[in-house]
């Protein structure tokens, strides 16, 4: 009974908090539910949400990708360059291909060179950002105003049945991600690997293929997210979305996916993304300066992690370390026979 309640909280707790927040939001921010504001919140949440969906897989597999901020900047810059060179098709293709390439770079560092994921992606965070800086050293790339009629530029602003297109893309991404996680062999293997990499190996799961898949998936999700991002803000350079990785990880962990791997809830991540966006919207409309918004975001993350930490406190002592290093459960060295 105790466990099933806990399990229920894992999946739906954040959703309940979201609903609560939505219930009090109009009191604090009178025009919260105005069509304009609601659409803006949903549109704003899209790029964070899409990357968080990919990140849910990474964290469920017991690793995380710190380079998503650099990836987003790079994908955005390259996509804008693609648009300038060849219009909508090239812009979309460039974003997706750049995301995939970034993911594969991470994956090969991690699998071929055996660099722990969190350090590898901490390094590539700076590398990707650095490349984006280099590409924009003559000034940020922007969408030209005279192209406002182009279908690509419309992605960010268009609504279908009152719902912003970026949000619809996010819904589609979550539907696909949910199926992938819950109803495919690959998704199950991700969870198995996150739960115990060593045991997963003896279940016939290839650690290399699994990690390549997970990091490529994160890369592609960043590519998709970049499309909704640049068509919203119209400009990008190396500093775009500084600190993005933290927001993404915060959303996934808030949603109830445990940092120690083996568990992943896309419904939770979805709700947490909306929660963060709503919170952000409220802070902005209350006129809270961005310096303080950072403080609130960091505080929310620590609270979420405290809850996660308390939940896993009684888990095996090595599990947290595994979450930190992403190295996979290190068998106690003392047990190794010579």
């Amino acid at each position: 009974m105790k466990r099933s309640l806990g399990g229920l909280w894992d999946t739906w707790g954040i959703t309940a908090i979201l609903l609560l927040l939505l219930a009090v939001a109009p009191v604090l921010t009178p025009d919260f539910f105005s069509l304009d504001n609601a659409q803006s919140v949903l549109r704003e949440s899209a790029y964070l949400g899409i990357v968080a969906a990919g990140m849910t897989f990474a964290i469920a597999s017991g690793a995380f990708d710190l380079s998503v901020g650099g990836q987003l900047a790079l994908c955005s810059v390259v996509s804008l360059m693609g648009f300038a060179a060849g219009g909508t098709v090239l812009a979309v293709a460039a974003a997706l291909a750049t995301g995939l390439a970034c993911g594969l770079v991470n994956a090969s560092l991690i699998t071929r060179l055996a660099v722990p994921p969190f350090v590898a992606t901490l390094g590539t965070l700076f590398v990707f950002r650095g490349v984006a800086y280099i590409l924009t050293k003559d000034g940020p790339k922007t969408l030209p105003y005279d192209q406002i009629g182009s279908p690509f530029v419309k992605i960010g602003g268009l609504n279908v049945a009152g719902l912003p297109v970026p949000f619809l893309i996010m819904l589609a991404v979550y539907a696909a991600a949910w199926l992938l996680m819950r109803r495919t062999a690959t998704g199950r293997r991700v969870l198995a690997y996150g739960s115990s990499p060593e045991a997963a190996r003896f279940c016939g799961i290839s650690p290399t293929r699994l990690r390549v898949f997970v990091f490529a998936l994160v890369g592609v999700s960043v590519g998709i997210a970049a499309l909704t991002y640049i068509t919203r803000v119209w400009t990008a350079d190396g500093s775009a979305q500084d600190g993005f990785e933290l927001k993404v990880i915060a959303a996934v962990v808030l949603g109830g996916t445990s940092l120690k791997g083996g568990k992943g809830t896309l419904i939770g991540t979805f709700s947490a993304v909306l929660l963060v966006s709503v919170l952000n919207d409220m802070l902005v409309s209350e006129g809270v300066p961005s310096a303080y918004q950072r403080i609130v975001l960091g505080g929310v993350l620590i609270i979420a992690l405290t809850i996660d930490g308390l939940r896993t406190r009684f888990a095996a002592p090595g599990s947290l370390r595994r979450a930190v290093t992403g190295l996979g459960g290190r068998t106690p060295k003392t047990g190794l026979a010579r």
């Binding site: 560092l109 060179l113 055996a114 660099v115 722990p116 969190f118 350090v119 590898a120 901490l122 390094g123 590539t124 965070l125 700076f126 590398v127 950002r129 650095g130 490349v131 800086y133 280099i134 050293k137 060593e198 190396g238 600190g243 933290l246 990880i249 915060a250 940092l259 300066p289 961005s290 310096a291 303080y292 918004q293 950072r294 403080i295 975001l297 960091g298 505080g299 993350l301 620590i302 992690l305 405290t306 996660d308 930490g309 308390l310 896993t312 002592p317 947290l320 370390r321 979450a323 930190v324 290093t325 190295l327 290190r330 068998t331 106690p332 060295k333 003392t334 047990g335 190794l336 026979a337």
Partner: protein, 320 residues
Amino acid sequence: MTAVLRRVPLMLPLIVVVLVLGLATDSFLTGGNVENVLVAAGIVALPGLAMTFCLAMGEFDLSIGSTVSLAGVICCSSLIAGQPLFVAMALALAAGAAIGLANGLVVTKLGVTPFIATLATLVIVRGISLAYSGGHDQIVSSTGLKYLVGGRPLGIPMPIVLAVIATVVAWWAMNRTRFGRWVCSVGSNREAARVSGLPVDRIRIAVYVLVGVAGGVWGLLISSQLQKGNGQLGMGFELDAITVVVIGGTALLGGRASIVGTVLGALLIETIRNGLNLLNTPPAYQRVSVGLLLIAALAIKGLRRADIPVAPTVVPEATR
């Protein structure tokens, strides 16, 4: 000689880089430039030494870059407010210690994963620093503060003096005292440390405070160099501090540490950075190169580990 090279793995790349730069540029091996490299290495070695303890414990502190900014802002704005220098510096160091204490408490008492906890403090402290500085430079003109980087006791630049003293103390503390051994014990097997009766939480908090204070020192040195503090300083510095430790050979998972390696790591990174400057490369490339260096160091370690055939695990029965 080969024994030294094997024991201190960074020696060889360092020699190679120095030789290459010496040949490729006219200015690298001039006295003034070598001193520049040593000063820069001394400045990054100080936080690196503290970070060595953190990694030896198997943990990370990512918040150090924000601490640098906040310490600088506090010191400079206190000076502007007319406080005497030592009060301003004490306040800055106290802020660093407080951040370290907060990290330590969150990590030990709330059970939050260090990596993410300090990522969160990174953002929070950055926010505080931006808010406190009001988003603009706190420019000072203090000869006393300037002495921290520009002073030359006995003709040796101050950062080098500080780094040498800190290295000796850190080496002794790490390798010969209970504190250092306990830090490695916690990194090697935290559960065993607990069962052996080591004050695990106090050790961990102490190390975070140490890193916090080192971040404060770093902030003072940067402010001394620039004669200002602002909310933007120190961005990405955590990467530098961790990189010098990791390329120096300290085990990522804790348990083993190399103080000498950290110092050589600082020398290597600053030599490369100095070389890139001399070769007129833009700053963006320097950031990229530090990232690549970190990855390369780990990759080499990873490849070495991969050479060892997989030992089948024979683990004492542990299932209940």
